[in-house]
């Protein structure tokens, strides 16, 4: 009988302990969940952003590869920095060129911004390049991608308590995969795209560029005829950005507030980038090609800068030779 009482007492204690543990477990889980939510609402620290950004850049480079022309990379960095310094964010931006005919631009956390060779081949001026890069700078400045990742409940980084530390190893690899997949397969919300357009135009104008650069490029994209090649070139742009018409209309409204035309710098763009040199005969390229010489015309205006001929917007078949003589 005594033994039975002792057994019952022990059983009661065990049951009580188990119930307490279960309750404590629930409380612990709730605390963890609240902490995760709190962490997810907290902007990434500079260290986190840099680590995730660089790992994501490596992932993006593995997909498209880099176009490594030192002069052109430097030029893109100069243009990008020119507009980025108007954002006011204390962040060093890094601009790279992806070696693909796909026409798009991508921004990653930490100030890593990429534009493709296909996009460069279809831009007409430095102002258009500035407009595209400024749009991407605005995405970074407003932490658009970061905010989407943080709000994504199933993101590897967000569902753990790791948001309070700088990810490393496999965790960083997974995070980079999430970031790049997100940036290449999904659209930002309409609000975020509008915000990037708005601030991008603002940065371009403040830098001294023609604020219509982005709008002009979007108008060109909208004019590209639908062909299998243009579908391949522009498919990524279409799937990761809102409809062009809506954006062009919004930009047209915004541009009315910028009476100063700013610099277009088409000639400098052609000198650095020379779009026909590495563009393909895609639908986009064909649409971009405006014959410099109309039927019956027999002259092309040009200029020589330190021995190098720069033609004013002329596009002629690759390999075309000309002869130049001084006036007698």
């Amino acid at each position: 009988m005594k033994l039975t009482r002792t057994t019952l007492a022990l059983l009661a204690v065990a049951l009580f302990a188990q119930a307490s543990t279960a309750q404590l477990g629930d409380v612990f889980k709730k605390v963890q969940k609240a902490k995760t939510i709190a962490d997810n609402n907290k902007p990434w620290t500079s260290e986190q952003e840099q680590a995730i950004g660089q790992a994501s850049a490596a992932k993006l480079i593995s997909v498209f590869h880099l176009y490594e022309s030192p002069d052109m990379v430097k030029y893109v960095n100069l243009v990008g920095t020119t507009v980025a310094r108007q954002s006011g964010r204390s962040l060093t931006y890094h601009f790279g060129i992806l070696d693909t005919d796909v026409v798009t631009a991508v921004s990653l956390p930490g100030g890593y911004i990429f534009i493709t060779r296909g996009a460069l081949a279809n831009l007409k001026s430095e102002a258009e390049l500035a407009g595209v890069l400024a749009h991407e700078v605005a995405h970074v400045d407003k932490r658009h991608l970061e905010r989407e990742i943080r709000s994504q409940k199933n993101a590897d980084f967000a569902k753990t308590e790791a948001a309070s530390h700088v990810p490393v190893g496999g965790e960083l690899v997974n995070m980079a995969g999430t970031v790049v997949t997100r940036s290449l397969t999904m659209q930002f919300s309409r609000d975020k795209e509008s915000e990037a357009d708005k601030f991008g135009v603002d940065y371009s104008a403040k830098a001294g560029y023609d604020p219509a650069g982005l709008r002009n490029f979007l108008q060109f994209l909208a004019s590209v005829p639908a062909t299998p090649q243009s579908k391949q070139a522009l498919g990524l742009w279409g799937s990761t950005h809102p409809p062009l018409g809506d954006r062009i209309n919004s930009l047209n409204s915004q541009l009315q507030g910028f009476p100063d035309p700013g610099q277009k710098l088409a000639e400098r763009y052609a000198w650095y980038v020379n779009p026909p040199a590495f563009s393909r005969e895609t639908g986009a390229q064909n649409a971009a090609t405006v014959p410099a010489l109309a039927p019956g015309a027999n002259e092309i205006d040009g200029i020589v800068m330190q021995g190098v001929v720069v033609l004013n917007g002329a596009k002629l078949p690759d390999g075309t030779k000309v002869k130049v003589r001084p006036q007698q």
Binding site: H94, D99, Q263, R268, V304, K323
Partner: protein, 165 residues
């Protein structure tokens, strides 16, 4: 050949600013008149091509805003001082930029015919070489002096926005 157009050229104006010269390239309406001269200049073709290549990879300043900046004239450029300038040479390539297609892959890396990124590319592991390139990109910065020169040449705004907290 259809894709190759021979053109004569007439220099219209002289020195514009510094090393900048105005010129007009003409279509070959006067082809027959110039054929004889063209033939004689073929002798100089190779040498001039070399000169152009030298210019393309050299360290000239690019054209800037409107109007063009006053760059030092070609004769004062030590890198090209010993060579004839293309302006007064024979045949030159039309490409006016230092960029050529030689270093581009000319292809749609990573996307399917619909322009969507292939999952196999997204799932592929990052190679050490890719990681190294990202690291090099992280170290890519613009020298302040280069930026100032760039802004001045383009007639762009020299001042930046105040930094946010």
């Amino acid at each position: 050949m259809k894709s190759r157009m021979r053109a004569g050229a007439i220099l219209l104006s002289g020195l514009l600013a510094g090393s900048a010269y105005g010129l007009t390239l003409t279509l070959p309406q006067q082809q027959s008149k110039q054929d004889q001269q063209d033939a004689s200049k073929q002798k100089n073709k190779k040498g001039t091509k070399d000169q152009q290549n030298s210019n393309s990879s050299g360290a000239q300043n690019p054209p800037a805003g409107n109007p063009p900046p006053s760059n030092p004239p070609p004769a004062s450029n030590p890198s090209s001082g010993d060579k004839p300038t293309p302006l007064f040479g024979g045949t030159i390539g039309l490409k006016s930029s230092r960029q050529t297609k030689d270093s581009a892959t000319l292809g749609f890396n990573g996307v399917d015919p619909n322009g969507q990124v292939q999952k196999s590319f997204l799932n592929a592991a990052v190679t050490p070489a890719d990681a190294m390139k990202a690291q090099q990109l992280a170290q890519t910065t613009v020298a302040p002096a280069d930026l100032v020169q760039f802004l001045q040449d383009g007639g762009l705004n020299l001042s930046a926005a105040p930094q946010k907290p």
